[in-house]
Symmetry: C2
Subunit: 215 residues, 2 copies
Amino acid sequence: MLETVSEEPETETSNVPDIVVGRLPLYLRALSEMAMAGKLFTSSQELAAALGISSAQIRKDLSHFGEFGKQGTGYAVLELRDHLRQILQLDREWPVIVIGAGHIGSAVANYSGFAQRGFRVVAVFDNAPERIGTSIGAHRVKAMSELGAVIAQWRVQHAMLTVPAEFAQPVADQIIVAGIKAILNYAPTTLAVPPQVHVEYIDPVLHLQRMTYYL
Amino acid sequence: MLETVSEEPETETSNVPDIVVGRLPLYLRALSEMAMAGKLFTSSQELAAALGISSAQIRKDLSHFGEFGKQGTGYAVLELRDHLRQILQLDREWPVIVIGAGHIGSAVANYSGFAQRGFRVVAVFDNAPERIGTSIGAHRVKAMSELGAVIAQWRVQHAMLTVPAEFAQPVADQIIVAGIKAILNYAPTTLAVPPQVHVEYIDPVLHLQRMTYYL
DNA sequence: TAGATTGTTAATCGATTAACAATC
DNA sequence: TAGATTGTTAATCGATTAACAATC
């Protein structure tokens, strides 16, 4: 069977460095703030000052995705914000599930900041019988046995993991099998996952410990 | 007045890169886990596999602080753990305050993971009259006017900031004046602080947004 | 036009990795 | 001894920055 040779095989990974992608949400956050404040234009210098990084880095980062500015004028705030939303695929709402209905899970499920910035918590799960069926804000805690149905219903790809450290790996394995592709892990442990699954970590203690070195 | 010329003037900043210091708590976490599991020895290779980084990097990082291993044998788990605790100044307990008694502040104040790893929440503050005096776990929410007294009493240097984004900067200014030297900021905004103050950030939405790019 | 700021190039800077002698 | 693993060197890799022509 004959096939056209494409210049960018669809299996090739993007050539934008992860570290650059990692800064885009920071730019988006600053631009959203400016937009809310009614600001019409900004510059790489102004963004840099607000974020504590260099203006050259901002211009270089953006140049991976196109030309969004005008010489002498800078960037139109709303326009650049919307470009970043598109690049990050944040021009739509994404469903997220929370696994673990303890202290952290409850706080996370109730945090209004997710909805405001493109993510909607559609369900909270736990495997403790005494928690299943109880209310957490607007959510009723579901049993892990309902995981597959919920993921299928909402086409969920994101999960936040707020279970005790010793359960993080087995639970991660379980939700990956069920179709989750992006895990935000609040448990203080490193996860082993297949290459097509993305993991990010939140461990506040690590941050405190880092700063303590300098005191 | 004659003074001995010291080879390391006390004003000189350490020559260990921040990025290396940032990984030490990760190593400490892995070693503490191994210690709890009763493991006596480990190697840079084993640590690397557990953390998903290279063994060369672990050996290089540790070499900034001394020689902790033995050829052919690796590292004694308890010994290396204790060395890292010393290096990070985690061989003692540090008092921490929480500013903001909302959802996140409450979850943070109740999170047992801090005490287990060297940090004790000694007080929770808020400036809303209806919150002052209410209970959050074992804590009674204090007014911001008591900030100075509490910081002096416990010699607090660490604060976790869990106030709404628009108040983060003014509250940060306030606690810095009161003597805080390390801020863990949960508000989704960048803080401007004097150079002797350290800031680390936690914004779960940024992590979700980063992963969304790759979906 | 004069001033400001972009996008990009090339240089610099710093971090990671491979490799291996030393040695337990 | 043979096998394993360290600490360190040098090479590689990648990220950041300075500088500036282009141009709004």
